[in-house]
């Protein structure tokens, strides 16, 4: 692949190619920052414009919008606690607390650098090891996926600081919300209570936006103060100094590896990667006690992982012709529309085109930093508005975003209901991240558990006897659960000693 780079550069560094990369990345960031538009809608919106283009610029435009939108989701997650895309939900956990204490610019700086490194590394992985990784992904069955998701779920413990029981209640509500709708194996309706709109389940983004953003509006409305101050103070991205990275590089690399690894697994996605990476960072970070209160390690974990997924997701799409999610399915359709058949022979039949796509992806990720700074600078005056104006703007943007997901009026009601539920639960002292984690990971957990049990004839023990990867992941999950208990016991012992 490396030897083809000069020829690939000839395809990228044309006027059309460069325009596509710059405009696509910027448009992706803007669309990603608008709550609800999301990567899939952004990529689908751009698809018709690619039909008149030649192969390489067309695919690069889609990739630029894809990578830009994944990063853009973090802007609204940090500044207004409203994840632009579901994959940015984990970014709210530490990004918004940082913004609340007046470090919005720095939080965006951490997220921008982490996103850029996550994306760049995944581009390098794509260039060097796409076929080998695609073959490896085929060994990852439902049992391994179950153990992986179990590991991700353990981060409920870490984000429930203050009250583990309340976090577990919120997590179980999230898991239940993920069960509503058609059964993934038999198709039978569950908990729909005769409402046909519920057959397809609760829309994830409507619930996420409701419990994070709308409940925040209600919490602020319920507070005694009048809404005449600014919501957050922000004047532009502040890049963290090099010295601040000391002790964080290892965590960043681990998160990038998790993002790449999960990206190549079909059907898991960037939201799952962000939460699993967050859980692992929380387990291993020296700053674990500050997670959920505005800790940059948490922000780095979620943002580097969700951007690393973008490259990883292209591995099965390009090398095997298997789209991992809706976005890569749209990419697959675009490749087909342009006369390229993805699959095992793609690498041998179109080596220069593939080298151009993979190296163009590297350039796109390099541009996230300057483009992100430009877009955030443009958004800064908006955030200096008085809180009351911002709260109204948040409700309007949330409604627009949720409407665009499916154009379904029912989703708007779900968002309203989730907002009120979030308000009531937050007044109860219940953290909202476990609810979202449960809802994001629940459906994959259910299907992998049930498929695994069907494969092993109902033997749960067989999950770990013949599956070493699953065993390692399960041990890690048990370790994650045991860690707070051991820490509490140690603290109690040292207190009584």
């Amino acid at each position: 692949m490396i030897e083809l780079l000069p020829q690939a550069a000839g395809l990228i560094f044309t006027l059309e190619g460069l325009l596509v990369l710059v405009l696509g990345t910027m448009l992706g960031i803007i669309l990603g920052a608008l709550p609800g538009i999301g990567s899939t809608v952004a990529v689908a919106m751009i698809l018709p414009f690619t039909l008149g283009m030649s192969q390489a610029p067309a695919i690069l435009l889609l990739l630029a919008v894809y990578a830009g939108s994944v990063y853009g989701g973090s802007i609204s997650a940090i500044l207004i606690n409203t994840p632009g895309t579901p994959q940015s939900a984990a970014t709210c956990l530490d990004g918004y607390p940082m913004a609340q204490r007046g470090e919005a610019g720095l939080a965006l700086g951490w997220s921008t650098i982490a996103s850029t490194i996550g994306g760049l590394t995944s581009a390098v992985v794509l260039l060097l090891a796409a076929p080998q990784l695609a073959a490896l992904a085929l060994n990852f069955g439902p049992i391994e996926t179950f153990a992986l998701i179990l590991l991700g779920l353990t981060c409920i413990v870490s984000v429930s600081e203050g009250s583990l029981i309340k976090g577990l209640v919120a997590g179980s509500i999230g898991l239940f919300l993920g069960c509503v709708g058609g059964d993934p194996i038999t198709g039978e309706a569950r908990f729909t209570f005769g409402q046909f709109q519920l057959i397809s389940g609760f829309n994830l983004l409507a619930v996420v936006i409701g419990v994070f953003a709308l409940s925040e509006v209600l919490i602020r409305a319920a507070a005694k103060e009048e809404g005449t101050q600014s919501l957050v103070s922000f004047s532009g991205i502040v890049l963290p100094p090099l010295s601040a990275w000391r002790g964080r590089i290892k965590g960043l690399m681990k998160s990038v590896a998790i993002g790449n690894g999960i990206g190549i697994l079909p059907g898991t996605g960037a939201a799952t990667a962000a939460f699993i990476s967050y859980a692992e960072a929380q387990r291993s970070s020296p700053n674990r006690a500050k997670f959920g209160k505005g800790e940059p390690d948490g922000l780095i974990a979620s943002e580097s992982a969700n951007n690393a997924v973008t490259g990883g997701a292209l591995v099965p799409t390009m090398a095997l012709g298997i789209p991992g999610d809706a976005i890569t399915a749209v990419m697959l359709a675009t490749l087909t529309l342009h006369g390229v058949t993805p699959g095992i022979r793609l690498m041998t039949d179109n080596p220069v085109l593939i080298a151009a796509i993979f190296s163009g992806f590297f350039v796109i990720n390099l541009m996230l930093l300057p483009m992100g700074m430009l877009v955030a600078k443009g958004a800064a005056p908006l955030l200096r508005l008085r809180e009351g104006y911002m709260l109204v703007l948040i409700v309007l943007l949330c409604a627009v975003g949720v409407y665009f997901v499916r154009g379904n009026p029912f989703d708007l009601l779900v968002m309203g209901g989730a907002g009120i539920l979030g308000f009531v639960l937050r007044r109860q002292g219940m953290p909202m991240p476990p609810l979202v984690i449960g809802m994001v990971l629940g459906p994959t957990l259910e299907i992998s558990l049930r498929q695994g049990l069907i494969i092993t004839d109902g033997s749960f023990a067989a999950f770990f006897t013949g599956h070493p990867i699953a065993l390692v992941l399960a041990i890690l999950a048990v370790g994650m659960l045991a860690l707070p208990l051991i820490t509490a016991l140690r603290a109690r012992r040292s207190g009584t000693a």
Partner: protein
């Protein structure tokens, strides 16, 4: 202190909802048994919900935490206005639903100067309609009166 605090009532309601949902999973005819049953996973989840909600209720009964009193009128008006706006948006169009919502919400949130309130109530929905309907060509619901808003 009254035994019926906001937190205790919420904990009790969560437990009762969990129990009611769990009871729904039994006694219904579904295809398949074990992992094939559509209720296999929900039963695990809801049993867990009931168990942790019961623990939460016990914890709430043992401790005497009295939450801060919210600005009930303000939060009720904002919640109701939001729900009406969300319901009306697909029926009368985004612009016509958003203008009264914005005005009511701004006044309720303590912003009383008529010119800025009117400007934001009209300007923000109009800007969003212009951006999405006309620039990005991602149409928001329009009113039955005119296609352009």
């Amino acid at each position: 202190m009254s035994i019926l605090t906001e937190r205790r009532v919420t904990s009790l309601v969560l437990l009762l909802v969990g129990m009611a949902l769990l009871s729904q999973t039994f006694g219904q005819a579904y295809s398949g048994l074990g992992a094939f049953s559509p209720m296999f996973f929900p039963q695990i989840v809801l049993s867990f919900w009931v168990a942790v909600a019961a623990l939460d209720l016990v914890a709430e009964l043992r401790q005497r935490v009295v939450g801060t009193r919210p600005q009930l009128l303000r939060v009720t008006v904002i919640a109701l206005a939001s729900l009406v706006f969300l319901l009306a948006m697909t029926r009368i169009g985004f612009f016509l639903a958003a203008v009264p919502f914005s005005a009511v919400a701004l006044v309720t949130l303590g912003l009383r100067r008529p010119v800025p309130v009117a400007a934001v109530s009209l300007g923000v929905p109009a800007a969003l309609v212009a951006l999405f309907n006309h620039l990005l060509t991602l149409p928001l619901p329009t009113s039955p009166v005119a296609w352009w808003f």
